[in-house]
Amino acid sequence: MYAYDEIDRTLVNERVSEFRDQVKRRLSGELTEDEFKILRLQNGVYLQLHAYMFRVAIPYGTLASNQLRRLAHVARKYDRGYGHFTTRQNIQFNWIKLAELPDALADLAEVGIHAMQTSGNNMRNVTSDQWAGVAPGEIEDPRIWSELIRQHTTLHPEFSFLPRKFKIAITASDHDRAAIRIHDIGLRLIKNEKGETGFEVLVGGGLGRTPFIAKTIKHFVHGRDILSYIEAILRVYNQYGRRDNIYKARIKILVHELGIEKFSREVEEEWQHIRNSSLQIDDEVIEDIRSRFTYPAYEKLPHMPDELRQAAADPDFEAWRKNSVSPHKVQGYSIVTISLKPTGGPPGDATAEQMDALADLADKYSFGEIRVGHEQNLALPHVAKRDLPALWKALDKLGLATPNVNLITDIIACPGLDYCSLANARSIPIAQELTRRFANHELANLIGRLHINISGCINACGHHHVGHIGILGVEKNGEEVYQITIGGRADESAALGNLIGPGVKFDEVADVVEDIVEAYLALRERPEELFIDTVKRLGVEPFKERVYATR
């Protein structure tokens, strides 16, 4: 966990007081909405259908228990008692009052939480693997670098008015849980042949109207050069990225239009000018940041404690353990994923009571630490295996032990037309209906790993392009219509899904998904062949034939 020092605290406080003044000037009419809009966006404030929406950053998905409690407090005091975890390690509150926002920000600042640059055409929250620092086989903790980049990108004097938003994600594991290939810049932490830490740098990924999987721009950038290299990419983008058309303004379009070779030459030229500057990072600077991440004092614990052996007799516990508990790099400990996808619930929502209770459980069982993943679930990263049965019982009471992680009901969904002013169709009710259809755990287990992603408009906040099954809501003649793709994925083998057939109506979506699943069960070679692998092996056609035969 990163602890703010006086310097970080001062900056956040200065930001809050600046925004307080800006809100005051807005409410007095001194600032027009046109002038204010960007300022509020840069502080995470959107205007949605029903009210203002407030997006708070959870950099690289790491939260301390006191921070989670403070988020619960904000939900309770300034909002309607719940929050929504997003696909980019943020939390959103849906009903916040502009006049009260500076107070909410000040409350958050007290525990080292901010909302800077969670919106706007600047560098957004730096995201990472929610298992960072605890995943077995990780090269090193990517959060050290994430924090370095977070600081560097915060209130950047040159890049706060980019052509469009800019997202950076970092992973240090072979299995990419941070979806780096759908980011503007994706960083894969690696070691070179000398054993030095550096990054494979990818650029130009993104979803939205024109989806692209990121391309590798440089195979190895030394850790000490990573800030200058990012700066070079941004400088090229700031000057040449399109500003005439909002849909063509992301860096992915610039990379596509120039071609990756020409784009990388431009970046390289710029980089040579600045790499030996004060942007070069001393080892000492890295060590200083590393020193402010605290790591738990793990005990020496057995691999298979008695508590776990005894609890194995309970099939419900076993179902949960097999689904939601993952190996930890330290023997005797586990990573516990907490599903925010209960049957019939909106994906990613948590109530203030759940957040408070979870903070208590984190104190009791996870060294006070909570993680937030891009799949809109939470995790407790350091749970002793002997505590798993007790933790499970407590989670179950809170409605937080649904054993569906990575299964068909672990759905990613944007807020959709129920909340969002950009949406054309609803997302959440589709997700809810699907969680009811597949509520039977045996059935879901039989189907195996299957990610459904739902977006309520082409902006793709629900990452539908990279869902194993992707659902995109559009509007046709005043009605909600849903286009369904299969074969997308967001991990290290990232790919965009392909359309399976004509769009279907709101009421038919769950039926079509059932048919797709039935087709998969009939088509798979053996039970271990995952949905995504069957689609890869056979293509869309056999699915299309079966699903649309009777439609």
Partner: protein, 171 residues
Amino acid sequence: MPLVNGGKIVDDSFVKLAVDTPLPESGDILVPAERFLGDAEAFLARPGKVGVIWPNNRDIDELVPYLGRLAAVALVFPTFRDGRAYSQARLLRERFNYRGELRATGQVLRDQFVFMLRAGFDAFEVKKQADAEAFMQTAKHYSVFYQPTGDGRITALHRRMQLRHSEGVGT
């Protein structure tokens, strides 16, 4: 439109020429890029200071040969949302060592002063009188900066290193 220079509201000695305004015999002038490049030597030879108004979509390299003889460069923010001139400003200051007046023009508002100062601007054609009057107060609002730029302000990373060393940590 008030001009802030050196932190104060001052009179603007420069006259802005349009593409076709007749050239005044003397006095300080700001010339559009296209017109300046068309006859640079003539502008530079006349009495009075010369500055150039440089659009944000033109490569700054073209201006580099003249920088030593220019009294001012005016960069343009067509809207405050268009941030290209920040990159131009930093290049002028940090790569090409331009030391003359670097003026922000266009939609220049209070809430961007700090960014502009950090990028190297030192003169501001401020759109609103109230913003111009609030300049000093706004400029010193922030005391912490994470990024190194040419403005010489100490960054958070370096301040931490100083603190570490003064406390004897890590030595």
